[in-house]
């Protein structure tokens, strides 16, 4: 699974992109977020439930309940500010 992080989130995590093996039992966006939070330190802070974040799965906007599977591209990012 390919993970992407954008804007301020990328800076806070010190990570723009990462390839991981999706653990068994992690099959939603919410589960993935919790899995990444469990890394602790900056990951726990930046992905905390109180932080408003957008997520995309395979380049479509997603919700916490959106399914994720191995091979997916999942991006986490702050609320968008284009235009």
């Amino acid at each position: 699974m390919k993970l992407l992080f954008f804007a301020r989130l990328r800076e806070d995590l010190g990570c723009a992109e990462e390839t991981i093996v999706l653990p068994a039992g992690v099959d939603t966006v919410a589960g993935l977020r919790a899995h990444l939070m469990a890394r602790g330190s900056v990951w726990r802070q930046a992905l905390a439930p109180g932080r408003a974040l957008g997520v995309a799965v395979n380049q479509d906007m997603a919700q916490p309940g959106t399914p994720v599977k191995p091979g997916d591209e999942v991006a986490f990012f702050p609320p968008v500010t284009g235009g």
Binding site: L4, F6, A7, R8, A52, G54, A56, Q59, D60, M61, A75, F77, P78, P79, V80, T81, G82, G83
Partner: protein
């Protein structure tokens, strides 16, 4: 529809002329240009960096245009959004809509901008005398987008 994400500046007049293409069914063209200002939240802005999610950006914009076309009868739509380094007075985004009548053109143009502001994966970073910081999303943008939820037009 045409959707472009690019670093280069655009010529709105030329783009609109291309959009109309001498099509005699077009009775109305509504266009919006977003421009970088020198002040945001009271702080003076020296420069702006527009980051985006390559691949998803175009897809998200195409999806927004498709929604506009589902709500209103439109003849042609163009969205051009710049990325990279910009400075005050630089053009950022162009949305142009051609239709038979002005009602659809005005509404679709505003709708596309309201949805772009809340659903298209761009992020702005401003450079000010105090340093660089990421722009925060505005509640008013979410409110503007939400307004369209209760207004589905044929």
């Amino acid at each position: 529809m045409t959707v472009r994400v690019q670093t280069e500046d655009f010529d709105a007049g030329a783009e609109i002329a291309r959009l109309r293409q001498g099509n005699a069914k077009v009775g109305a063209v509504a266009a919006f240009i977003g421009v970088a200002r020198d002040v945001n939240d009271g702080e003076s802005v020296a420069a702006l960096t527009l980051e985006h999610y390559p691949g998803m950006t175009e897809r998200a914009l195409e999806g927004i245009v498709a929604e506009a076309r589902a709500r209103w009868r439109l003849i042609e739509v163009l969205v051009v959004h710049r990325v990279g380094e910009l400075k005050p007075t630089d053009q950022i985004v162009l949305v142009a809509v051609a239709s038979a009548n002005r009602g659809e053109a005005f509404a679709a143009c505003e709708f596309i901008m309201d949805y772009l502001k809340t659903r298209a994966p761009f992020w702005k970073k401003e450079r000010t005398p105090e340093g660089a910081h990421w722009v925060e999303a505005r509640v008013t943008d979410d409110d503007a987008a939400a307004r369209w939820e209760s207004q589905k037009t044929a």
